[in-house]
């Protein structure tokens, strides 16, 4: 295996890991107002991802920086070409990122409603835009032979990419619901299960649609379509498991479904990294966008040394916060007195 292929796999892994992990954060962000009817319920929902979401979002930063380091040509074309979409994504990520911290910092219902809205909308927009962006890598956008993007914003709004975006949003919703079902107790959990059951079927249908469409688009035979098949199976399993008191399995199923969807895009791409609609000669590939072998070797050493450490302490975090959380029994000390 060449270094460029290795780095393509690393990047596919980083994007997959990012959406599997941050996917449920997005889902919880979208759902926190639905599953938590009162302030206490909302806090339980947000508290479930509280210690985790920031570390999860770093996956996106590392995926981006890794792309910059390993495939600067890809990074340059994608981020300058998808400019306005990326701008919107940044707005969404900023809005939801600060909402977590800001919402509880003042005793005012209006204040909280404002940040809750920012959290909900940001958590909806972010996976939508990321899904559309990933879809566009595979669907293709106008890229000239000099690797410069020649299209506009509307070129990003093709049917396949939009459908990918919607699929990712639905998966995040379901993923968030299974996460909350797994990590909370009481009313929040009941609501989460109910929401999960409601969106499970439509999500599974969307995944099937995505899988077929991607299969047709990629057209590389059945072997290259293993991730699509895995996505369909996992989404089906998730739809079946939700609400059957199999919280752990349901969560594993949604994780696999979302991971397989992202993977199927990257498997469909390889060895390309961005498809050009102006002819395959202008496609960006792992070789014509890659860094020098010195940089790739250096990055490989760094990744091989550091990544296991990162996985270990992130895994430990999940272990530390493994217990379900729920609302306080009435009469208990008010939350704000107990924690800072």
């Amino acid at each position: 295996m060449t270094l460029v292929t290795f780095w393509f796999i690393i990047l596919a892994g980083l994007w997959t890991g990012f959406l599997v992990l941050e996917g449920f954060d997005f889902g919880v962000g979208m759902l926190h107002g639905v599953v938590g009817r009162g302030e206490a319920g909302r806090r339980v929902a947000i508290g479930a991802i509280g210690p985790l979401w920031d570390g999860n979002e770093v996956w996106l930063i590392v995926a981006t920086a890794g792309m910059f380091a390993a495939f600067p040509g890809w990074y340059a074309t994608m981020f300058s070409g998808f400019y306005l979409a990326i701008l919107l994504l940044l707005v969404a990520l900023i809005a939801r990122g600060v909402s977590f911290e800001f919402r509880g910092k003042r005793e005012s219902a209006r204040w909280r409603r404002t940040w809750d809205a920012a959290l909900t909308v940001g958590s909806l927009l972010a996976p939508l835009l990321i899904g559309v962006a990933l879809g566009n890598l595979l669907h293709g956008v106008p890229i000239a032979a000099d690797q410069e993007y020649t299209g506009g914003f509307v070129d990003l709004l093709n049917a396949y990419s939009l459908f990918t975006g919607v699929t990712v949003v639905l998966l995040c919703l379901l993923h968030g619901a299974t996460f909350l079902a797994l990590k909370t107790t009481g009313e929040v959990r009941e609501h989460a299960v109910r929401v999960g059951r409601r969106v499970a079927t439509v999500t599974a249908v969307a995944v099937v649609g995505f899988a077929v469409w991607t299969y047709v688009l990629v057209d590389k035979g059945l072997l290259a379509s293993l991730p699509e098949m895995a996505a369909v199976l996992a989404a089906g399993a998730a739809a079946w498991l939700v609400g059957r008191d199999r919280d752990g399995f349901a969560f594993v199923a949604t994780s696999l479904a979302i991971g397989a969807v992202v993977l199927s895009i990257f498997v469909g791409l390889y060895p390309r990294v961005m498809v050009s609609t102006l002819g395959s000669a202008a496609d960006l590939t792992v070789t014509n966008t890659a860094s020098s072998s010195y940089t790739l070797r250096l990055m490989t050493i760094v990744a091989v040394v550091l990544f296991p450490v990162v996985l270990a302490y992130q895994g430990w975090t999940y272990y530390v916060f493994r217990r379900r959380i729920g609302a306080a029994p009435t009469g208990a000390a008010r939350p704000r007195d107990r924690q800072r």
């Binding site: 990074y75 400019y83 977590f100 940089t295």
Partner: protein, 463 residues
Amino acid sequence: MSAVDLARLQFATTSIYHFLFVPLTIGLAILTALLQTAWHRSDRSEYLRLTRFFGTLLVINVAVGVVTGLVQEFQFGMNWSAYSRFVGDVFGAPLAIEGLAAFFLESTFLGLWLFGWDRLSRRVHLATIWAVAVGGVLSAAFIMAANSWMQRPVGYQLNAAGDRAQLTDIWAVLTNVVFLWAYLHVLAASLVTAGVVVLAVSAWHLRRRSSPDVFERSAKLAVVVLVPATMLVLFFGGRLGINETKYQPMKIAAAEGQWNTCQPCSFSVFQIGGGNNDQTPTKIIQVPHLLSVLSTGTWNGQVVGLNELQAQYQQQYGAGTYIPNVFIQYWSMRTMAYLGVVVLLLSLWGAWLIWRKKLATAKWFQRAAIWATVLPFLMNTAGWMLTENGRQPWIVQGLQLVGDAVSPSNSVTTIVISLSVFVFLYVVLAVVALMLMLHFARKELAAVPVAAEDDAPILHFTY
């Protein structure tokens, strides 16, 4: 304005804004860790209360720092795609290592620290805040290595076509002498920033006699950190200046408004006029030999003037103007240095008061300390203006011009949209963050929280 100017304006705006939060995060994480260590060792509840108090300020600050950092990470590709293609090989690597080595550490352990009060043993919980502090210190290392490479490119080779700089020696990048001094300078500046903020907040409470016995401790800690940190920030900055004179003579000549070569050179303390079209400003005060000492480290050192450098550069790089904005250079240098001296005097004053045991009651000192809050932010901003404006018109010194670095596919309209969006969003964030910071900084110190019972369903109401 052209697309280049707009892209520059956007980068300047978003970077300066981001860096209002970064040094405070780095420094405050260290100070919070020190407070928690003091609690761990002494078991005195005052230190626990202070840890939580300043930890809240840290967390609000981190929130804005993290989200505005995302913009930085994406912006190279969005606005500077030609630059990204040209240097991705060298520049992308430190950014990726920063993410893997530092951001993961900082974010993951901040979550553990914030939510882990009743889940982790005291010792492990203490380790998590230190991990956050280490993450901040590490992230600064890699980003400064990347930035220093733009100031003084080393350890690279141009490819055959000459359109890409390729990394050949990471060790050279990490031992770049400009990087070493710039990094130490930034670390010291972070401690100064956090030190002044902690001192100001403590002084505010001392003046109102709210928990004076407790806030006297944090004020003392701040002064104890500030005295050496301020001296070091000046010293490291001085060493950085001497190296910049060597590798980026234009930057220093412009910062001194030195049009003609001099030897020995006197330092202009204050001048009226000056700028790129005024080579003969009215110099009010001049200190003989000081410029030689500051920029070369010798009593009679030579400083090459802007006119001579311009002639040299034209010969080397072809026709063009290679002189940065002299007005910005001159005044950002002085803002940074003079305010640095003011902070040093303030911290020495504080040290004297600690020695006389009058810190808790010295009204004038407390008043001065409260108003000093703005100084480190002005200094940090001026420092970056000095170093980045001084590199102009280059984006990578001697290798690529800023004008050649922008994304060719971006229209003026696109950048105007994004710039407006960022300005609007950042103003909102600034107002909210400042409001919350002030609110929590002025809040009375909370009592020691009662630990939750272990068997109850656990609540995490940190948000």
